[in-house]
Symmetry: C2
Subunit: 183 residues, 2 copies
């Protein structure tokens, strides 16, 4: 992965917003090709995502309200990496909170940049197996509005191709999980 | 697609940044489930992306410097929809500027949300075929630093699985194009 191999030269930085989960700043850079310009950036601690596969070969998906899209999206469970967490500990927590499962086996399937034009967020993607349903769902984050749906890998592939699953990180993670789902 | 089916109630909005390509604001909303909170949002006009397939079954990919990742990423050609453009006209322009090809056949393969946790950007994805190489590459955007690479669909799939193509929108678009690439 080419991350960090060619840092730009920071000439000036202005912080416009400091938030709970990320900051937003505007930067004047000199790039490796010597061109100069201003670029805006969400500064994000990164996110972790699970493709959770149950014993009877179903994927646990969440249908989640997103204010930015003014509707509900089908997504794999994911969350922002909090202070002191590793990607693994973040997603172990999120999968319990969002879908009510505990996974015993975790396999890293890849990492990718969500929106490299204006965000430094990296998503760390895992396949979660040996799932055990928790007796009671842990408390959800207050600002989340989430329903859990079980679908076969074939149904998820169809949902992507038919335009029913329209979240980029979930489509990308499904693609990274494919070799482990169809064989 | 559930876009717009359940708009939240906007209680307060503060614009923090007005940029060339997008704005950034912070909003107090009441969601359909009646919970209230503050959410930050990149307000983006949308992007268009092409999966360009040449006559000899190669995909035209760009290797592009991204300040946010401090390195070069493999991506499908894409660009921000500018004022007065349709997604089709944006990507017809971008494919000429970025990879030096003109495509005669365009097929919409899907649309998806890039980062629905903090951005309203929609990516409109197209398969571009009947490509004709332009005699000379049009002028590139000044802040871009781009190299064009031709790869077979099998090579792109391997690049995704091996972690060499790590751009979420490109991985998602490849997945939408799959049924048209392998048969």
């Amino acid at each position: 992965m080419p991350y960090g191999s060619e840092p730009p030269q920071l000439l000036r930085q202005k912080l416009f917003y400091k938030g709970r989960k990320f900051n937003f700043d505007v930067n004047r850079y000199r790039l490796p090709n010597q061109s100069e310009g201003e670029w805006e950036c969400i500064r994000h601690p990164g996110g972790a995502l699970a493709v959770p596969l149950t014993q009877d070969r179903k994927l646990a998906i969440v249908r989640q309200y997103r204010f930015a899209t003014q509707g509900r999206l089908l997504e794999f469970p994911a969350g922002t990496i909090e202070l002191g967490e590793t990607p693994e500990s973040t997603i172990e927590r999120e999968i319990q909170e969002e879908v009510g499962y505990k996974a015993s086996t975790w396999k890293k399937i890849g990492e990718f940049f969500l929106a490299p034009g204006y965000s430094d967020e990296i998503i760390y993607a895992f396949l979660a197996t040996d799932l055990e349903q928790l007796p009671q769902h842990l408390a959800q984050d207050e600002d989340e509005d989430i329903e859990v749906i079980l679908m076969t890998p074939e149904e998820v592939e169809q949902a992507i191709l038919m335009g029913d699953m329209t979240d980029a990180k979930s489509i990308a993670a499904f693609t990274l999980a494919r070799p482990f789902l169809f064989n």
